[in-house]
Symmetry: C2
Subunit: 324 residues, 2 copies
């Protein structure tokens, strides 16, 4: 039985914990729940209903069960800090270093220390999976790993932030000014009270860094991305674009060595031109041509990314054991 | 060294043969080229330039090298007959029955005998791959196999025929009547001289049958699909849709047990609403929500599907040998 722990027990953690109750037959048992303040060990007989809404954690380091060898697979769902990567970075580094498989939805550690963490995982022979960090409801890394083999990625473009895409969509279709569209997004819970990471393009830039490092084998940091947010986009500019059959979208792109995030004109008929909170990513491939994936970027659909990573790890462990 | 043969040496076969020259280092060697009239054995030292444009085939059954055990992996690129499945059906059945892995782009055999062929492959312990049969430049089956694990497909909708989509696109944007748009498509080589399989929705229906059988585990035939083509779609109808922010597309869909192909109203802002010869497929998933893939449906990009299947087979063979 593989023993699984979750650090960061918020919205995603709760849904994931419920879903993992179905995995006991697959050989995976949820053993630990934790946040930055402490942890809780489950004896395996607690029905999933009992671990929600909020369990009482034992005040201690959430890493204690990892250090005691009680966790084989750690899911890190900590809040993101894109400058320091903490606290997720420490948790992931410790877990990988102890031979524990890691799945994360936290962008921070990957933006700050992508190569360090992936090299550590490789040298320890463990899995480090992060499907949930970019386009939560779009299986980007899984697709690239399995389905783009034998082809070559020439460039990548994406609409990777649902909050700004919602705002730009409202500006386009309703003619709202930026500040009103933002207020609306905040009221709907789509934008944070401090929306600067989204509006200034930092969130999109983090995702571009992760995509470039993971799919193109480069070693980029946030400082390598030329970033412009949507703060200066006016409804007049969008109206002018609309008259030409276009609109303005916040587009992240990777072309050769150049990483950028900026408001760009996009043709309304173009596959990349998705609306509302949808995310889209376009791969330009050598043989396949252009392939675009469209899906939800956040929310409950992100749990599918976590589960897909967990499935991958279960299969890999079965394979390494020589099973089928 | 895995010995590979290609039956059906037309447009796709030639591009594939060139690409396979790069696979000798990967342990795959192109050994045979064939069409319905005969075959040619390659000694492995023929540079790819020498096997194009048209080699001289030895007049004989193209299955002879398979029967003589000279082929480990057969790529079947025969012209499609959706009523009989022949001649591809016989080739595939014979090859699988002799323990040969098969990759095909021919829809016919899958529409006529999906369960028979997949069961035969399973009982013989060989691979039978058909990524190229639906949405050539979109890795649909690979995605489903690897990236949708741990989720449940609720329904599928798709724009799966590039020819009719091109015609409907020209009708929408240029106001052309159907017959003129069709003539244009024929002049551009996008439509056959007898375009009835495309226009009547039969090609799309075949793809819906393959999708349903492969992804939802049912056992459907062409007769199970309720099919209506685009013959009755007028530019007036499209114009009326356009005024409401919509257009008319030929949509194939699978909902529960119901398979259908018909012209449907689609919102212009909807991810499924792609134009020109593009294909699109939308999965409605339990956890992930809606996931849409957009790409090229035919032409050279289909070679990427064949190569992806071949890579899968190479990896599976390495796995079965116990290698990494």
């Amino acid at each position: 039985m593989i023993s699984c722990g979750i650090i960061g027990y918020g919205f995603l953690g709760r849904i994931l914990a419920k879903r993992l109750a179905d995995y006991r037959g697959r050989g995976l048992e949820l053993r630990m729940l934790a946040n930055s303040k402490g942890y809780l060990l489950l004896d395996g007989d607690v029905p999933p209903g009992d671990i929600t809404p909020l369990p009482r954690f034992r005040a201690s380091s959430p890493l204690e069960p990892v250090e005691r060898g009680l966790v084989d697979l750690l899911v890190v769902l900590t809040p993101t800090n894109v400058r320091t990567g903490e606290p997720g970075l420490t948790y992931i580094r410790e877990a990988l270093g102890r031979g524990v498989d890691v799945v994360t939805a936290d962008k921070g550690p990957l933006v700050v220390a992508f190569r360090e963490l992936t090299s550590l995982a490789e040298s320890m022979g463990v899995s480090f999976c992060y499907e949930a960090t970019v386009g939560g409801g779009i299986p980007i890394f899984s697709l690239a790993r399995h389905s783009l083999m034998g082809d070559r990625i020439i460039s990548i473009r994406g609409i990777l932030n649902g909050t700004t895409n919602y705002i730009l969509t409202r500006m386009h279709f309703e003619g709202l000014p930026l500040d009103l569209a933002l207020q609306e997004a905040q009221m709907m819970g789509l934008a944070e009270r401090d929306p600067s990471l989204d509006l200034e393009g930092i969130d999109s830039a983090c995702k571009i860094v992760i995509l470039a490092n993971a799919l193109l084998g480069v070693d980029k940091r946030l400082g390598d991305v030329k970033v412009r947010g949507i703060n200066q986009v006016t409804s007049d500019a969008i109206l002018a674009a609309k008259e030409l059959g276009m609109t303005i979208k916040l587009v992240g792109s990777i072309e050769g060595d150049r990483l950028s995030v900026a408001p760009r004109l996009v043709r309304l008929n173009h596959p990349l031109c998705v609306h509302g909170t949808l995310n889209a990513i376009e791969f330009k491939l050598d043989i396949m041509g252009d392939l675009t994936l469209i899906g939800r970027g956040a929310g409950e659909s992100t749990v599918s990314a976590l589960l897909s990573d967990i499935e991958w790890i279960l299969n890999r462990r079965a394979y390494l054991r020589g099973g089928r």
